[in-house]
Symmetry: C2
Subunit: 434 residues, 2 copies
């Protein structure tokens, strides 16, 4: 039977779904060299590499004879998945840009397992790589051999690509790292690749947070609406994100409040101020450890925004404070104490910086700021005064970790008080994906 | 022979390297039910799932009889890798927190391939999962069967974990996304996991860029030194990063110049200013598309830094300009033209903002700024004046894309001129990993 079959495959190999031509083929070789011969004929590569075991080495000459060409042998151990996996990776890397097929028909199951794992993974970097095996439509259980003549070479699909699990894993990693735009790109690619709509819902979520944390509140707000539209569709009732539907709805409302604030420019709008401040604090918290200079910037702005708000609800503004003579006198007095300078060295106050805003709010009896003692403020003044000297503002100072922590505490305390006064729940944390 | 073997495995299964107890086992079933029986006995799970084909369905009863327990059958097609892969994934997800083993001994090579690919990937999310198969020390090629009595169940290592390729892929993705700190974490984990030192060299590179782009120049500078120490060690002569050794050395020098500038606070230090400005422009460029508000902040600061430098080399400062009466008059005149306001509405200049700095530099005959016409500056003035109104500075304005682009162009042009005057090569782009 074998000579006839060989003759047939030499002329016209049976390949499913369609014959493709490869430049390099790599095969495992066990105790059925015939299957490997058929695979090599079906793949038709010029360069043939054979991973054989000490036991199967004796089949190499028959294989070369049947194929009518030399093959390059690589000896491995029949149970050493890792060694085989590494050998396959090395050969693939040695042939950049070439069309390569891996055939896992012959050899032990451990060899096939290593070959499959290597092939399916390497396909990410070498998209033209294929994993193949010789299947048969009928198997004779008594002879424990395929019924001759029913063999065909199958180019196997890559389940990672079909189901997208590896890309989804990457998307989740990016999401966890707050790289929302990269996560969104992955989910969009997954939707195209797998045709599955539920990935688009995840993409909408990522795009919402991407814009939100990039301070594009209008964009984020329309993404939030799009996301909630998805989640109320019948098709997505069981989408995992629906567990967070309530929270997502609150976040959509929060974003709307920020958009309204940025349009009205009215610092007394409580809800918008709270959601915007919470956003800036969140951005600061995420950067505190590894990017203290950026973190300080967000904390300063959050803190200032709260002061601007507390001034605005009292009918005042840091930009045009219109100070009465008594207020002017009080401010210079307070600054003199906090800065430890004689009053005559304190220049008349024009616009209100952070420290001047605090002084005016104390004078106006703001309970949140009156809580801080003169000695607290003597401790904070250096950090509050140094904002303009920061590398990202006008100077060359790099914020120190200790300063950033003090600033974070001060800003968070003022935020908590303002939020409690308002009795509002604000939750800007991204929801969990799973 | 089989009854004896079965009896032996019921009492004492042969497992390599050590026997472990599993709660769930999932098996492929082909035409050798005996191997599956041995695997199930060796794994000792209470719940046994069997992925069989229409052809191998008839072996289920023998399997149950030999095992002495019921198994749960799942029918698949012998060549459908994807269907099998999906079925395995579903079963694994249905048993969260349980110790699961996948046995790929029986069935076609396509089935084993799907099982291996699924198992090795799922292990990332379920670290206690194991892939197993029944190996034999001797195979009878005539009978095409293992020599009875030499079988052992092998718990296969996961080559992704042994070689770390999947983690390396993730690290590279993070690096490409400029998530240097996540990339560094991965490389450190890879070094621990695989014991391979070359991953630590990559980690040092990532840590350098992480600190650099977080504006921690001192930290980055010491990381750069550490990286170059690695690359000159004999052990790492052939490390792929050594192709970038020259560029990395220049970057180390650039970082040193920035550190010196931040210490001296002397804005006339050309090299430090150029490297620092290039860093800020790079940060801006990376954020321009998706985070225009942050991008604007970096561009503003880069632009201002160049003005501060050009003033400093002319012995002047934006903070204490000490304007002569002629200069004061010229500045108010220029501002009146650029802002389109009558001169009497222009207040006397105290400190120099962006526009005032440009006006003074023009008056002092700075060639880089004299190139811009009054009409250019009338076009730029709105954007230059609005810095303080930005959401991240003192106001509630979100930078528009068009403004950010104008700002980027202006800043890049001024940077190029300054760099050409200095005749310095500056390259802040992270090197390629591969």
């Amino acid at each position: 039977m074998w000579p006839l079959l060989l003759e047939l495959w030499r002329k016209e190999p049976q390949v499913y779904p369609l014959r493709e031509t490869f430049e390099v083929s790599i095969h495992t070789l066990g105790t059925s060299p015939e299957a490997t011969t058929l695979a090599a004929l079906g793949l038709g590569a010029d360069e043939v590499y054979v991973l054989h075991t000490p036991e199967s080495r004796r089949y190499l000459s028959q294989l070369q004879q049947d194929l009518g060409r030399e093959v390059y042998p690589i000896e491995i151990d029949k149970s050493d998945v890792t060694r085989l996996y590494r050998a396959v990776g090395e050969q693939v890397r040695k042939h950049p840009g070439k069309k390569i097929a891996l055939d896992l028909t012959s050899g032990t199951k451990a060899m096939s397992a290593g070959m499959a794992a290597a092939g399916y993974f390497l396909q990410r970097v070498h998209p033209s790589l294929r994993v193949a095996y010789v299947d048969n439509d009928a198997f004779d259980p008594a002879l424990r051999k395929p019924v001759a003549g029913t063999e065909k070479l199958i180019l196997l699909p890559n389940p990672h690509e079909v189901l997208g699990d590896l890309d989804e894993h990457l998307a989740q990693e990016f999401y966890g790292a707050r790289e929302f735009s990269k996560a969104a790109d992955r989910y969009q690619a997954l939707r195209r690749k797998t045709g599955q709509g539920h990935f688009e819902v995840y993409a909408a979520l990522c795009e919402m947070y991407q814009r939100w944390y990039a301070l594009d509140f209008e964009g984020a707000s329309s993404n939030a609406q799009r996301l909630l539209n998805f989640l109320t569709q019948d098709a997505y009732r069981n989408h995992p994100l629906n567990r967070h539907a309530q929270r997502l709805k609150e976040q959509k409302e929060g974003l709307k409040a920020i958009v309204a604030l940025l349009q009205s420019k009215n610092f007394s709008e409580q809800k918008g101020i709270l959601w915007l401040t919470a956003t800036l604090l969140q951005l600061g918290d995420e950067r505190r450890e590894r990017q203290p200079v950026s973190a300080a910037l967000y904390y300063y702005r959050a803190f200032e925004l709260l002061l601007q708000h507390r001034l605005a609800v009292r009918g005042r503004s840091d930009d045009e404070p219109n100070l009465s003579p008594e207020e002017q006198q009080h401010l210079r007095q307070a600054l003199s104490v906090w800065l430890g300078k004689p009053p005559e060295q304190i220049r008349p106050v024009q616009k209100l910086g952070l420290l001047e805003s605090i002084a005016l709010l104390c004078y106006l009896g703001d309970p949140a700021l009156s809580r801080f003692s003169d000695s607290d403020l003597r401790g904070y003044q250096g950090m509050l005064q140094s904002r303009n000297k920061s590398l990202l503002i006008h100077g060359l100072e790099v914020s120190k970790k200790g300063d950033v922590e003090r600033l974070q505490q001060f800003a968070h305390r003022l935020y908590q008080t303002t939020r409690e006064e308002a009795g509002l729940a604000v939750s800007v944390e991204p929801v969990e994906l799973v």
